[in-house]
Amino acid sequence: MKNPKGRRKAMKIVLRVLGSLSFCFAASANENVFTLAFSSNPPFAYEDSQTYEGIAVKAIRELFKRSKLKSQFQMKPLIRSLKDAKYINYSCAFPVQRSQNIESEYQWISPIFVTTSSLYALKDSKIKIKSLIDAKDLEVGALLGNGDAEYLKSFGFTKVSEVVNQEQNIGKLNLKRIEIWATDIISAQYFTKNSKYQKIQELFVFRKSLGSLACNNQIPKVEIDKLQKNLDLMIQDGSWAKLTTGSF
């Protein structure tokens, strides 16, 4: 170009373009996106009209927003979610019941919510349970891969039948194909609220669990600590309780 002014103008444009490009590269190099995987488990996490909803989803969405960390939700089978969280960096699975057996396999942010698990029977059932061992020989329905099923089996329960969704458990209970249903209080309320089936009664509370976010061990500790700190702040300011109290 023979025109010096034109040359300068062109140079400015080139420099601006190069600057923007380098900024984009820098930004994408530093910004890791957490993949937050869950299996459909209403009312905790589920898909509704192409959006993800649920008590745990709401709490985690707020948590990441406060922590200013990028994330994307993905719905996939539970076993796959846990496997990805174990082996792929910046992957997490939820809600996972934190337990000693898997403590070392992940970094944890906890509690995303707390569940109380009970044994339920039909309203007209005559079953009486005063301790967990009383239920050992009963036919129990539970959710596949759920911590409740594993807990009961670890105490010698041999008649635990696991299904992929809670509607099946309700149906089986009403058809008397199972005698009791092992689940948490929130799920029990959610699935029986508008159900066509008979009402149920709570027979015995048997444990509590900390529903948690299980994250890959390679994620820098500073980010895990940030998430935990912000979760603690949400609990302190009352927003956690509002998000995790189920109302259906």
């Binding site: 934190r98 337990s99 000693q100 057996n101 403590e103 070392s104 906890s110 509690p111 707390v114 005063k130 301790s131 967990l132 061992i133 807990y151 015995f204 509370v205 048997f206 444990r207 509590k208 900390l210 603690d232 609990i235 302190q236």
Partner: protein
């Protein structure tokens, strides 16, 4: 006529009332009978036991119908509480109890979450007294000394008899207050096959190879020689492969307490002093006054000192050379009863919580008459150990009440807690789970009768030497956040991902970091006040731990007879 009808009506009501009352009385008598039958034997007379049951019934009246939930770890004693004691308590009092049992690390995580967040999870915990340092510093745990004479006065059993608890000193903080009430205790002792050790052919062969008698090892050198002897030189007994050592190495929270349960002090790390070394305890944390001042040797601690490194090196060496290969993938729960399969000659680190499981008739380790072929004996000491140090670990699972628990729930839970450890219940519970907590139970006729089938457990608890087996004590200011550092770091060394010294250096540094954070945030009592880093020569000059590396970490092996080991050490 109207009066006549009214009188008939009145008589009818009186009859119903009388019947109901009589029925209720009969029900109450049935319950009392059931309790007396289940909780027999007891050190109390029948009248005294009945009086305690009546006290619980009356004290619980305001809480009838209340539901409470408590949590403990999974051992036989707590299974008995959950399945039997809780039900009978409910029947007596009308308080409905869920006694959840779960992994020990789960209990720690849950009490930490409740204390940190204030979320009401459980009404009471059976938390190890290892957490006493955190409990009394956090300000979030009720001190029972004050509770029992103030808010808890109306629900505190007059015959609780705190002085009868042998673990009382472990749950009492430096401020002199009782923070936890012991529910069960078990020690970590040396376990061995006395029948194999007594065989003349093995005696001759061992003497020929090692130059001294095959017997209860006094030191780690002898333990190592015996481990090698059975794994390498004996190899098979009655056609079965045998091993001279058993342990566990799975990457799991329980790997942490494999070491933090006094393994360092068994090796000889830290200082003399009971229940914990002074100024440095078995975690390697130095305390000045009541303030933790450092874990790393640069700050005057001993967590990454020579004795600690020796202890981990020996753990790894023995696990790899002398234990069954599958031991590397086992944890606390899966490894505890392996010795009962009949192929293990000795185990240096064996929790007596598994005594009941290894005393069952018909096992390869039990004689036809029910007596064990094995014994428990004092733990052999490592090369750095000196007289005056603690010799091993004792677990004291203890009732712990978290502040912020709704008052009515707290009181109901306190009633249940006391019931589980009352003299009415404790002896039967001890005979089931073999985790004694009361002096009166330990010295009872029932325990004397049980002793021959328990391999030396009762003799241990009756001896003054049991005071040398102590829990983690008050030097550790935040057990829940410090405990994971053990399995994460030492686990890496066990798997060969790093050297032992590097693992310990990182662990000590991270522990100091946790303490620095506590110092910055503050604690209600005795917070950490970290020492500045100084050269090792500065700390060596003080003539307390940390001590330099020994030129010979394998002195000659020494053994003693089982009888001497009992008389000498306990």
């Amino acid at each position: 006529m109207k009066l006549h009808s009214f009188l008939k009506y009145l008589a009818f009501i009186e009859l119903i009332f009388f019947d109901l009352h009589a029925y209720s009385q009969q029900e109450s008598e049935n319950t009392m009978f059931k309790l007396a039958k289940e909780f027999s034997p007891t050190t109390l007379s029948q009248e005294q036991q009945r009086a305690e049951f009546e006290w619980f019934k009356n004290a619980s009246k305001p809480f009838k119908g209340k539901k409470i939930i408590v949590v403990s770890e999974l051992i036989d004693t707590h299974a008995y509480e959950s399945n039997v004691i809780a039900k009978l308590f409910s029947e007596l009092t009308g308080i409905e109890v869920t006694h959840e049992i779960t992994g020990e690390d789960d209990v720690v995580k849950k009490i930490e979450a409740q204390v940190r967040t204030g979320i009401h999870l459980y009404d009471a915990y059976i938390s190890d007294s290892d957490l006493i340092g955190w409990h009394y510093r956090s300000g979030k745990i009720h001190n029972l000394t004050d509770f029992m004479v103030t808010n808890g006065k109306s629900v505190t059993l007059p015959t609780l008899d705190i002085d009868d608890f042998v673990g009382k000193s472990f749950t009492t903080a430096p401020d002199g207050k009782l923070y936890q009430l012991p529910d069960q205790q078990f020690a970590n002792l040396y376990w061995y096959r006395k029948d194999w050790f007594d065989r003349l052919d093995f005696q001759a062969k061992f003497k020929n190879i090692y130059g001294y008698k095959l017997d209860v090892p006094k030191n780690w050198s002898a333990y190592e020689d015996i481990a090698e002897f059975f794994t390498v030189h004996v190899e098979n007994i009655d056609g079965k492969k045998v091993y001279g050592h058993m342990d566990y190495g799975k990457k799991n929270p329980s790997l942490g307490w494999r070491f933090s349960d006094a393994w360092f002090s068994m090796a000889g790390a830290g200082d003399k002093g009971l229940p914990g070394g002074k100024p440095i305890d078995d975690w390697g944390i130095r305390v000045e006054g009541c303030n933790p001042v450092g874990a790393s040797v640069e700050r005057g601690g001993d967590m990454n000192g020579a004795a600690a490194a020796y202890s981990i090196n020996k753990f790894i060496e023995w696990l790899n050379k002398y234990a069954p290969p599958e031991a590397k993938q086992m944890d606390f729960n899966t490894s505890g009863t392996v010795a009962g399969n009949g192929h293990i000659a000795q185990q240096i680190f064996w929790y007596t919580a598994f005594t009941a499981a290894l005393s069952k008739p018909g096992l390869p380790v039990t004689n036809a008459d029910g007596t064990p072929r094995w014994r428990v004996a004092p733990s052999p000491r490592g090369a750095y150990w000196k007289a005056g140090m603690k010799l091993g670990y004792q677990d004291v699972g203890s009732w712990t009440l978290v502040k912020g628990t709704p008052t009515e729930n707290l009181k109901a839970a306190w009633l249940y807690a006391q019931f589980t450890v009352s003299k009415s219940v404790s002896l039967k519970k001890t005979l089931i789970g073999l985790t004694p907590i009361r002096e009166s139970d330990i010295n009872s006729k029932a325990m004397t009768e049980a002793a021959p089938k328990l391999g030396g457990l009762i003799e241990f608890y009756r001896s003054p030497a049991r005071k040398l087996w102590t829990p983690t004590y008050t030097n550790v200011p935040d057990y829940p956040h410090m405990a994971p550092l053990w399995w994460k770091n030492i686990g890496a060394a066990v798997r060969g991902e790093t050297t032992v010294q590097n693992a310990l250096d990182i662990m000590a540094s991270q522990t100091d970091e946790v303490m620095a954070n506590l110092q910055a945030k503050g604690m209600t009592k005795c917070p950490p006040i970290l020492n500045p880093k100084k050269p090792l020569s500065f700390w060596y000059a003080k003539k307390t731990a940390p001590f330099p590396k020994l030129s010979n970490e394998k002195p000659k092996g020494e053994t003693q007879s089982y009888e001497n080991s009992i008389e000498g050490s306990w």
